[in-house]
């Protein structure tokens, strides 16, 4: 299967080929992905958009190595990962990927430092080195003085910064952001997006799921999905009139 469709582009970091994901819901089959072929370049910033049920979350889970395809192929950095087992996928997530979620997904009983250190624990770093790295990253996202706080003592924006710091801990190639501003007010959301923009400028590939055109506008490429297939792909910056209105109304 991978013979004729070997990777063609050195700049390519992610490629799906005829990707299918079928869920069994009771007696009904749901085609969450119904034959998606797409390729993302290294260092790009993509927004995956679409109404709920369009398959954008499934797409995210597949690309983030949290789930496996029913059929088709997924190349991550020129490696076919569609047939890897659970341990190998875990290893990929650990060394290669970073995640930012809508609901932050920090572990509430752990301090900010411990949350940021979490991937390093599984990478086998010793405690002192982990602590140094955590401090460095917390300072980078502007939370150097919050290391020993618990997530419940932080604001939403601060929690998302901690989550971004955690996603950066393992120096990932790709950062996945699932509705990163969904639980934040627009001003805070804007700050978080600025942080992601900065990371993208530093060379990180960012793949973001969102349904807000305003937020999607930060991405250079926008992939619109509907019913498990790609509807259209937009490239370049854009701002609709409607968005601009909303923007000024917010201020």
């Amino acid at each position: 299967m991978d013979g004729p469709s070997a990777p063609r582009n050195g700049q390519e970091i992610v490629r799906l080929e005829n990707a299918h994901k079928i869920y069994q819901m009771g007696t009904e089959q749901v085609n969450a992905l119904a034959g998606v072929t797409v390729s993302f370049e290294r260092g790009s910033f993509w927004a995956i958009m679409g109404p709920s049920g369009s398959g954008k979350s499934t797409m995210m889970n597949i690309l983030g190595c949290l789930d496996r395809l029913t059929s088709g192929s997924y190349y991550l950095d020129n490696q076919d990962v569609s047939r890897l087992d659970d341990d190998a996928l875990s290893e990929l997530r650990l060394t290669y990927l970073g995640f930012v979620f809508q609901s932050f997904n920090l572990i509430p009983q752990l301090t900010v430092q411990r949350n940021i250190e979490l991937p390093l624990y599984y990478l086998g770093w010793d405690a002192a080195r982990s602590a140094r790295r955590a401090k460095e990253l917390a300072e980078e996202v502007g939370l150097g003085d919050r290391l020993h706080h618990r997530p419940t003592e932080l604001s939403g924006g601060q929690m998302q910064r901690v989550a971004i710091a955690r996603a950066l801990t393992n120096d990932p190639q790709i950062i996945f952001a699932d509705e990163p501003t969904g639980n934040l007010d627009s001003a805070t959301g804007e700050q978080i997006m600025e942080l992601l923009d900065k990371l993208n400028q530093l060379g990180k590939t960012i793949i973001m799921v969102t349904h807000e055109p305003d937020i999607a506008a930060h991405a250079r490429n926008r992939l619109h999905m509907i019913d498990g297939v790609i509807d259209r792909i937009e490239t370049g910056t854009y701002e609709t009139g409607k968005d601009r209105q909303k923007h000024s109304a917010g201020h």
Partner: protein
């Protein structure tokens, strides 16, 4: 490196458990009580059996003790007649000679004749148990010599009126005076004190240890000549007279292998010469064996109780850990998304359970050591804490952590990160 990692994992586990101090404590309580009761019960049981075995061993594991007993018919006959009458029973001098001479493996034997007599030293007086015996007695029932010497064959041959006292008896009757060389009067007969031995008393199984605190030992021949074989006791208006030649024969066998065979032989021989069963044969070795069997039974019963209580403790831990896994589904999802492998999630929960159960085991050990100490302190009962009695429950509590932690940990590893991350 590997050790440092394990230490870190344990430290993180402890950190996590400390977040819910009360819950963790309540969870381990079952194991605390389980281990505590096991350690305490084992030490009490061990103490009791050690005491019993020590007493039996003091009787001499190569010895056979034959005692005179009043047979049941004799007892009845005496009761029905209701007037003075001499009952004749028990071991005879001839029995002794036969027993000592007839068996290959008998090393030596000592006859014992017992009478209670008033003894006095000037104005001080008390009733002593007079033991008429031969020098062999002191070989068969070894006692430490406090002063002077024990009986000798020459005393027996010359019918010398000499006496050996026990330390306790000596103190009672002679008080502070120098003991050796004093003369005591036992119902009118003068005896010269030649030695004092350590006193010992008590029961072993149901055999009376063959000496008592207030014994006086004199040569058998002298006892026979001075006091005869008939003893008379005043008993509620009537007199009760008994004629007993020997009260005990203690036989020492060369090797413990032959003890039971010789005992059986003696039994058969005595059966021939006695038409009533007016003797009893006890074998300390058999008692020892019986005590060991009893101890084994005891240990099995204790073990089962302990096993059940530890099982209950383990189930308690498992229950809480299962609840904890459900409660922490989201955390597990986050860890998995970040890149934790299933195996690492299993480790995390397993370490927490083992830390819980082992901590419970350690606290239980503390409680279990304290209880026997208090028992000994307040009731004077002997308790023994053995290394096994400490290590075993501790190892078991650790094993419980693994055994009962495995299922919740596997459940945790089965959590699907995609679903877990959506979990509220």
């Amino acid at each position: 490196m590997r050790q440092a990692k394990i230490a870190r994992n344990i430290a993180l586990g402890i950190e996590n458990l400390l977040l819910h101090k009360l819950r963790s404590f309540l969870t381990m309580l079952g194991v605390v009580f389980g281990v505590g009761s096991v350690v305490a019960m084992l030490s009490v049981g061990e103490g009791a059996s050690a005491e019993a075995m020590d007493q039996i061993r003091r009787l001499g594991s190569n010895n056979i003790i034959i005692s005179s007993v009043k047979s049941a018919e004799e007892e009845q006959a005496q009761a029905s007649v209701q007037r003075s009458r001499i009952s004749v029973y028990g071991l005879t001098y001839q029995d002794f000679t036969r027993v000592a001479a007839s068996f290959n493996h008998v090393k030596q034997a000592a006859p014992v004749k017992l009478t209670r007599k008033d003894s006095r030293l000037r104005e001080r007086s008390m009733e002593l148990r007079v033991v008429g015996t031969t020098p062999q007695w002191f070989d068969l029932v070894p006692r430490e010599i406090v002063a002077g010497r024990v009986l000798m064959q020459a005393d027996e041959d010359e019918r010398a009126p000499v006496a050996v006292l026990t330390e306790f008896g000596a103190r009672k009757i002679l008080a502070t005076e120098a003991v050796i060389g004093q003369t005591i009067r036992i119902t009118g007969n003068e005896f010269k004190v030649v030695g004092v031995v350590k006193s010992e008393s008590g029961q072993a199984g149901n055999i009376q240890i063959p000496d008592q605190e207030a014994d006086v030992y004199i040569p058998l021949g002298v006892a026979r000549t001075y006091f005869g074989d008939i003893s008379i006791r005043q008993k509620s208006g009537s007199m009760e007279a008994e004629q007993v030649q020997l009260h005990q024969i203690i036989v020492q066998v060369e090797d413990s292998r032959y003890v039971e065979a010789v005992a059986a032989g003696i039994e058969r021989m005595l059966e021939q010469f006695h038409n009533k069963k007016d003797y009893a044969i006890s074998v300390p070795l058999a008692l020892l064996r019986q005590a060991k069997a009893t101890k084994r039974t005891f240990n099995i019963v204790l073990g089962s109780i302990a096993g059940i209580s530890l099982l209950v403790g383990g189930i308690g831990i498992m229950n809480i850990m299962l609840a904890s896994v459900t409660e922490r589904t989201r955390e597990i999802g986050i860890r998995r998304a970040i890149g934790a492998k299933r195996r690492q999630i299993i480790y995390q929960f397993l370490i927490e359970t083992v830390v819980l159960s082992t901590t419970g085991g350690l606290i239980g050990l503390g409680v279990g050591v304290l209880i026997p100490f208090l028992i000994t302190y307040f009731s004077g009962m002997a308790t023994v804490i053995t290394l096994n009695g400490v290590l075993l429950p501790l190892l078991i509590s650790m094993a419980i952590g693994i055994l009962f932690g495995l299922y919740p940990a596997m459940n945790a590893a089965k959590v699907d990160p995609i679903i877990a991350l959506r979990h509220e």
